[in-house]
Homo-oligomer: 132 residues x 2
Amino acid sequence: MNPIFHALFQKSRYLTNCLNEVLKQHNLYSSQWAILYCLHNHGPMTLTQIWKYLNVEAPSITRAITRLETLGWVLRIDGEDKREKIVALSPYAKEHLPAITKTILAFEEEMVGSLTVEEQQQFIILLEKMKG
Amino acid sequence: MNPIFHALFQKSRYLTNCLNEVLKQHNLYSSQWAILYCLHNHGPMTLTQIWKYLNVEAPSITRAITRLETLGWVLRIDGEDKREKIVALSPYAKEHLPAITKTILAFEEEMVGSLTVEEQQQFIILLEKMKG
DNA sequence: TGAATTTATTTACCTAGCTAAATAAATACT
DNA sequence: AGTATTTATTTAGCTAGGTAAATAAATTCA
């Protein structure tokens, strides 16, 4: 396997594992955090908006939202268009998000801090350059 | 979420999906390919050697090897040390690997070819720099 | 308006990683 | 030699992604 792919996949796995480790203290998984963060920034969203934004398929989001709902992090509200469900943060989530955000920012700083801002930009540029 | 993480995770998912798509014609998944390639380069290996090399946990490899065995790609042989199982490519795998390797090389070239060699090196350096 | 098509979500089931604990063989210790 | 510890593999069960197909509401169009 191409060393670039090998390195990329491995770092990706490594970072999600680290992220999950850090999120344990808040009883969250990284995928759940991604959704909460998304809702925090955009306000209530439909399922479709969420999966399009996060760039994953719809069933993954359905499952994650169901879990987040039973855990009390989000509410599912019927939209005007009766096909769609609107997902919103619960009061519980709104209360706890600042602390979680703080944890995450510290983690990200630790992980990415060894790169200069230019290196970070360069990294993203190189990532985007890779495609067909 | 930090844009670097977002971009990294997304590209990683995207590339494995592409890889799976390309491997469909050989009835393989990317994780299976990783193991076959590993055995192709190193010759027969124990399970522990494989998971340490690929940097995943043992149970993932056990499952993948079991599947590869029932599909006829690999053989599991008892080692001298009766605890360990040695995994080797089957004649079927040896016969088909060249064609698969060709497919993969073309795919990798397509994905990574838009980066110069220096950019590829730079990319790996930046990846490794990211840690705690 | 009624049928056909599109769109949003869900369900079922697959790969692919993880941890924790079980099993079995090898090694170390006294 | 016999017990305790370590090591290799497996099993069970979790998150997290994917596809394909089902369902139900909205939209299009003849």
